[in-house]
Amino acid sequence: MSQGQNGAELRLVTPGSAIGPVSGRRVGTGALIQGDDIIATRVGHVRERHGTVSVDPVASCYMPRSGDLVIGTVIEARSNLWFLDINGPFQALLPMSLAPWKVEFGGTRDHADINDSLLMRVQEVDEVQNVVATMKGIGLRRLAEGAVLTIDVQHIDTLRAEGAALLKRLRDLSDCRLVLADNGRLWADGDAAGIDWLRALLRAVAAAGRSDRFEAILEAHAANAPNQGDA
């Protein structure tokens, strides 16, 4: 059985399994109340904090929220807007008024063509999950160099924990510039060796499926990293 950060055993639950009686507790993500019991709706580890019971899923898809930093891939360019795949259930829409360029009507493909990757922020998500993105903001741009890698969404918090310590270690070992987006995409810009090493590492992490093994897998791959400096 895996161990939590405080050494307590993490309890893995599956959809439908009872977590425990409600008894005044609130229900967070990955769980719901059925009768007098709290049941899990996903495969994940049970977490109880400040009277709220939730399940940290071991696999999940990206659900867009306003303000998220995302990397989108252009899948369609219309006369005055782009549709982008943001690695989630819903496509994002980028109107030319929210692009950083002066776009003529009908000239969207001059600035971002099909398969181009764009670093954007989610401007708005309405009640039926229409997603509007914006590129007006510091650092938001078309990603013309480097590679966009995929990372499971549930690992993002692990990478950002403790002042993004793991992300900094990834950057040092790979010797690449990195941008980690909220939608499970990682932009890496550097030598091919560094990008290949990152790709192999993320493939191993995805196969393991668990966030708490990220650091161990990283250490196992560290010996093959292109940059063995003082990092």
Partner: protein, 243 residues
Amino acid sequence: MMGGYGDVKLLNDDGTRLDGRTVDEMRPVEIKAGILPAAQGSAWVKHGLNVAVVAVYGPMEAHPRKIQRQDRAVLDVRYNMAPFSTSDRIRPGFNRRSREISKVTAEALESVVLLERYPRSKIRVEIEILAAEAGTRCVGITAASVALADAGIPMRDMVVGIASGKIQDTVVLDLDKAEDNYGQADLPMGICPNTGELVFLQMDGDLSIEEYNLATEYNYKAAAEIHEIMVAALKARYDGGEA
């Protein structure tokens, strides 16, 4: 009536079945989760000689847009038997039977998947039967449940597919090929083991009320056993437990 060969002997003199099982004994079941790296979730299930592989993709934007539902996701289930899955080659592609099974499987799974979490989207479930020996729709449902859980799709419960039937006026659990072909009745069910809900029920042949109740009892007992194997498979995938 099923089959039509009422004089085929399917029970031994000592009351056991031709493959040696007792009347309330199911075929051995093995399950593995997360076997396909390209899919969001996947499962492999071996139930007797049946082998099913299921891949789950999504949630994704539903196309064409006319199939989108503004308040929930659409579950797009495709059941298909491989040409080499039976002794006689099956013509590749969909047929009336596969369409029917796809439809009833989707309806069974819609009862437990929290589709309202993903409005306007689509979840694709691809069920491929690699080897068939009676009861493939049940194996497909079981495998689809594991694959959906593996994909992180929120569900109220998992669905277990299992069938009982009647041979030589005796109710038996989990019909094999000969029993399915020459038996008198078949009662496949989709059962939610945690809540006890019945989300899928079909019946082929005739059963009396007593026989139906006994077959249901057998199915619920087997569903609990299969559910334990499903949970063990998911734990083995994510927690290093025993499969």
